[in-house]
Symmetry: C2
Subunit: 347 residues, 2 copies
């Protein structure tokens, strides 16, 4: 029950146990086409979802390199390791970053963040699911708050997409990026990114140097179900199969399973005398749970590992006090039971 890379189902492993094909072959194009259509459903968008051979961080950089220019002003609510990385990367690309800081365990307050958004703000970078602290931001509210403004809403949904609801078009999100190794149950190595019409317009103005992550080129190749450079073909086989599994179960049922499993975890850990780290339960992520166990987190992670349950410690300053248990992807009732039983053995 890692928070990513997550477990890879046997069906997905089997899909990778096959002969190599050329990424310029008709057979590859058929795989790419299915993945392309499936990812649109996951992102809930009419926009193309482009496939990049990189981790989610690469897709994050693609968003910056393609839709922004040196000196652009952007606002980044910072609430943990991954949102801070968003800010650091924007600075590395010479954007002018305004950080709006929240306490660890808090969600980004929309009204407070919007105080910093001016007519000169080119982008608002919001992490969907801050997996360092187990907090989900209200992306829909950010989308609403930006309606009628020229600011692009850029959303990192690496640990969200495919596990919890994320409606790119309806929620007015301009750029969404995600990765293969979380709720999609696929080995790490691919990332995904979709741009709204407004974001595609912005690519025409961008003066940022780019080549590998040139999204206009990627879009041209996507039209013929290919990629500009050699894609991670075996990971594509894996995504293809994982998407089939997701749609067989039904996306709504997948969301429901993630929510129910997390709710059972929250209830279970509280019974054992722990609490969640997020300050408000309504913002607690439903793809992973950050459990507050002051001073004991590392010991618990080790104790669970001895019983065959792999979870993760917190990141950064909360590494000693928080451990994180994921329900992303291939996690079912019996896994939750096993985790709670193992945790009870340590308590």
């Amino acid at each position: 029950m890692m928070v990513g890379p997550t477990a890879v189902p046997e069906r997905v492993l089997n899909a990778m146990n096959r002969k190599s094909i050329s990424h310029r072959s008709k057979e590859y194009c058929e795989v790419h086409q299915r993945v392309r259509e499936g990812l649109k459903k996951i992102f809930q968008t009419k926009n193309e979802v482009l496939v990049l051979t990189s981790s989610g961080t690469g897709a994050m950089e693609a968003a910056i390199q393609n839709c922004f220019s040196i000196g652009d002003e952007v606002v980044v609510p910072v609430l943990g390791t991954f949102s801070e990385q968003f800010a650091l990367m924007a600075e590395a690309h010479q954007l002018k970053v305004t950080r709006v800081k929240f306490e660890l365990g808090e969600a980004a307050d929309v009204d407070k963040v919007m105080e910093y958004v001016t007519p000169d703000t080119k982008g608002l970078f919001v992490i969907h699911n801050e997996s360092a602290t187990g907090v989900t931001n209200d992306i829909q509210a950010f989308g609403k708050a930006l309606e009628g403004k020229d600011t692009l809403l850029v959303t990192d949904s690496v640990s969200g997409a495919g596990g919890i609801e994320m409606k790119m078009d309806e929620w007015n999100i301009d750029i969404v990026l995600s990765g293969s190794q979380k709720a999609l149950m696929v080995p790490a190595g691919l990332s995904f990114i979709a741009l709204s019409d407004r974001a595609w317009e912005a690519t025409k103005r961008s003066n940022m140097p780019k080549y590998y992550f040139d999204l206009n080129k990627a879009r041209q190749f996507q039209e013929i179900n290919q990629t500009p450079n050699t894609p991670a073909v075996y990971n594509m086989f894996a995504v293809d199969e994982a998407l089939k599994m997701i749609f067989e179960e039904g996306l709504e049922n997948v969301y429901k399973r993630h929510k129910e499993n997390t709710n059972r975890i929250i209830e279970g850990i509280r019974k054992l005398g722990y609490d969640i780290f997020p300050k408000e339960e309504k913002y607690a992520s439903r793809t992973l749970t950050a459990v507050y166990a002051p001073g004991k987190a590392k010991e618990i992670v080790a104790g669970l590992q001895e019983q065959g349950i792999i979870v993760n410690t917190g990141l950064g300053p909360i590494a000693e006090d928080v451990f994180r248990v994921g329900v992303m992807g291939y996690v079912y009732n019996e896994d939750v039971d096993a985790f709670l039983e193992a945790l009870a053995n340590l308590s």
Copy 2:
């Protein structure tokens, strides 16, 4: 017998058929350490070989982003699609590029190229093996020609490393990059890059924006056998196994096999009335053969495919006249026989 992605051996496929692990676990670090040590032998270097989650093009961009600055003058001998890509990418990053053009099928003439290298030339970008035209450049001679000069020798050995000799340290190469899906017999998705001490020095002066491909950060993480972002863990399992196979056979034996297989292909196609596309046999690549079949290349590729032999057409202007057959990685005597027999059936 594709020119990449190449065939993946069953042992390598089996190495990927296993449960997921965290990239921060001890188990992952052990895999990473073995891969790290193995790649040093492939590159024949004492330098660290860093592992990036990207195609070879990503590693090419990493070389530019980390070791050069906007406005730097570089020289690029252009002899086909991939060397032209090297030049285009350098231009995308606002380097001042001097192209030294050669006819398709020619190798880069060292003396001619060196006429364009001045004391202001910061980099000479030479492709080791131009897989578009099946030509191998004499990297050793370029290394010798640059001795005592401040120009960095940057070598793309995507379709070379692990298949033909490439001695980074002895040949005085400053930057070598390669990919997983060629002679290493591993699914696409990883690239590799190594920097000499001089190249590491250059990273300190570089003003290029970067984040995902920040090699100094990658080096820091490599010291603890990790990567800054989530690596393609399953591809690492695959590389680990493929390297074992290579060293069991012996690197020198692997080179010998590539050379002998290619020599047999060259002899065989000539018997059938074809010739090689490279103008001089001594520069004809020994990881793939570009066969000259004016006007008939696509027909032959289709005819071979019907007999179960997958080869590739030429790239760009020579697509109708050249087809390419690879011996990279997992290709043995009997594969060469099957190819020649199938080609004979078409003649």
